[in-house]
Amino acid sequence: MSDPITVVLVDDHQMFRAGVRTELHRAAKAAGAQAGAPIEIEIVGEADETARAVEVIAATRPQVVLLDVHLPGGGGVEVLRQTAPALPDVRFLALSVSDAAEDVIAVIRAGARGYVTKSISGAELADAVRRVADGDAFFSPRLAGFVLDAFASGGAAARDEELDRLTPREREVLRFIARGYAYKEVARELVISIKTVETHVSSVLRKLQLSNRRELTRWASDRRLA
């Protein structure tokens, strides 16, 4: 039995934190019963606002931070800004009820390794936590949709640098994720290994975070007015 994955839960709603704790526990147990080698997920800290989150993350140094996008005192982007540079081993997974593309893209560009909506099931959330703890990225269907939209070849593709484009294979992988396929199913459909799917998703995440195309930010903020 391997060591449990340590998680800090940052969300301003106590009810929600309680729910996530229960579901993660249950999901980890269920997965463990199936696989025979349970990977426990242990919540080592909780915070309900930005400054407190920064403190708790620095004190507990978890493997994964489940980070709400909207928080009193600055929000997820601010938590990332204050903790991510100093703690490179801590990985952040954005977990939000928000549907606004600019919220999601902002937190990803600030360094989060993925984004899931709060309607995600316990099992999927546990899976996402494990992936992020392993160093992979995790895209929910909605995030895949946002990314496809943001990187859509809007005609001026010729002048874009390599970072500002998705390869056809990356697009293909993202489209499957947007259609609701799990990584395992994407691998089967494209006859590639899960590892390759993970590599594609990680490279898309890297492009999202490093891409300096101005349109990406503007695209996200324009979405509200569209």
């Binding site: 549907d99 606004a100 309607s119 949709g145 496809l148 859509a152 005609g155 947007a178 007015l225």
Partner: protein
């Protein structure tokens, strides 16, 4: 009588009258400014506004008249010049005195306008919350427990549309005008009618034309099937509008007709749009070959409908593997 010899007592009184008029006119104007400030707090009606305008006009007339009177007070050119200079100095002095006050009034006005806009926005949000959220919460307390999930789902959808998608406000009021909007509306309808969750991810958008409406109708049919047979599991819908480049279109399709179509829309290199909808459920799935010839749902409402409008439909399913319906159509 010359002004240069030093003013007599009578001249001094004569000079004081227009001065008094200037002061009175200024007072009138400033009073109006102050009144306008108060008007923010009172209910500023149109009639009140006109009264303020009239008083301002009277004030301007009084000040102007007094200045003219001052300037024509003396007879000689020198007296006139000095009178004009005196009037100008008087005027600038008045402006200097009034300026800080006027600026403060303007600042207050600005702050109050901001306050009013905030109040209006709050009222709008409050009205929406009352119409939707509060109303639903009341319903939930009285509703049959089986309906609660449906009510909550519908309310969540509406609130999301309102918060994140300005287009969404027209969701239930009028017919959607765009492709993505129509897909969302169809998903919402199925969600409400069949009590399942439908997650929609839409990429790109385009105005809704005749053939696209058929495409959305086919998707709706696929959604209804999924809702009926998938055992209540969430349904995933992915709708994408993609620009297809000339060259890519010719390469992919290659037929002469399509090449012509490509040339027709060409020019900037952008030719056509490809629209795709995927409706996927994780239900039990079924054996497509075993579906009876009399069952028209898939054959007519989905595959046939798409074919009639120049599109294409595919159903991928197998027992135990869920079902995915793929719809594709090209449009200019």
């Amino acid at each position: 009588m010359t002004a240069l010899d030093g003013p007599s007592a009578g001249d001094q009184v004569r000079a004081l009258i227009p001065l008094a008029a200037v002061v009175a006119g200024m007072g009138l104007l400033l009073r109006d400014l102050a009144a306008e400030r108060r008007g923010v707090w009172l209910d500023a009606s149109g009639r009140r506004g006109r009264a303020v305008d009239a008083r301002s006009a009277v004030g301007v007339l009084v000040v102007g008249g007094a200045l003219v009177r001052l300037s024509t007070n003396g007879a000689s050119l020198a007296a006139e010049a000095s009178a004009v200079i005196a009037a100008l100095i008087l005027f600038s002095g008045g402006v200097l005195i009034a300026l800080p006050y006027a600026l403060r009034v303007l600042r207050d006005l600005d702050a109050e306008r901001g306050e009013r806009i905030r109040a209006q926005q709050f009222a709008e949000v409050a009205a929406h919350m009352h119409d939707s959220v509060l109303h639903t919460l009341t319903l939930i307390q009285r509703a049959d427990p089986r309906d609660v999930a449906g009510l909550a789902r519908a309310q969540e959808r509406e609130l999301r549309a309102w918060l994140y998608d300005r287009r969404g406000r027209a969701l239930d009021a009028t017919e959607p005008e765009t492709f993505a909007g129509a897909v969302r509306a169809a998903a919402a309808e199925v969600e409400d009618r069949h009590g399942v969750r439908v997650d929609v991810v839409a990429v790109g958008d385009v105005a809704l034309g005749g053939a696209l409406a058929a495409c959305v109708a086919a998707a709706r049919e696929a959604l209804v099937n999924a809702a009926k047979y998938a055992g209540g599991a969430p349904i995933a819908v992915f709708a994408e509008v993609e620009m297809v480049m000339d060259a890519a279109m010719v390469m992919e399709v290659g037929t002469e007709a399509e090449t012509e179509a490509g040339a027709k829309f060409g020019g900037a290199g952008m030719a056509a749009r490809r629209v795709e909808i995927y409706v996927r459920d994780r239900g039990p799935g079924f054996d497509l070959d075993a579906v009876g010839a009399d069952r028209m749902g898939i054959r007519e409402s989905i595959v046939g409908r798409m074919a009639r409008h120049g599109g294409h439909a595919e159903v991928r399913t197998a027992p135990g593997a869920g079902t995915e319906v793929r719809l594709e159509m090209r449009c200019e």
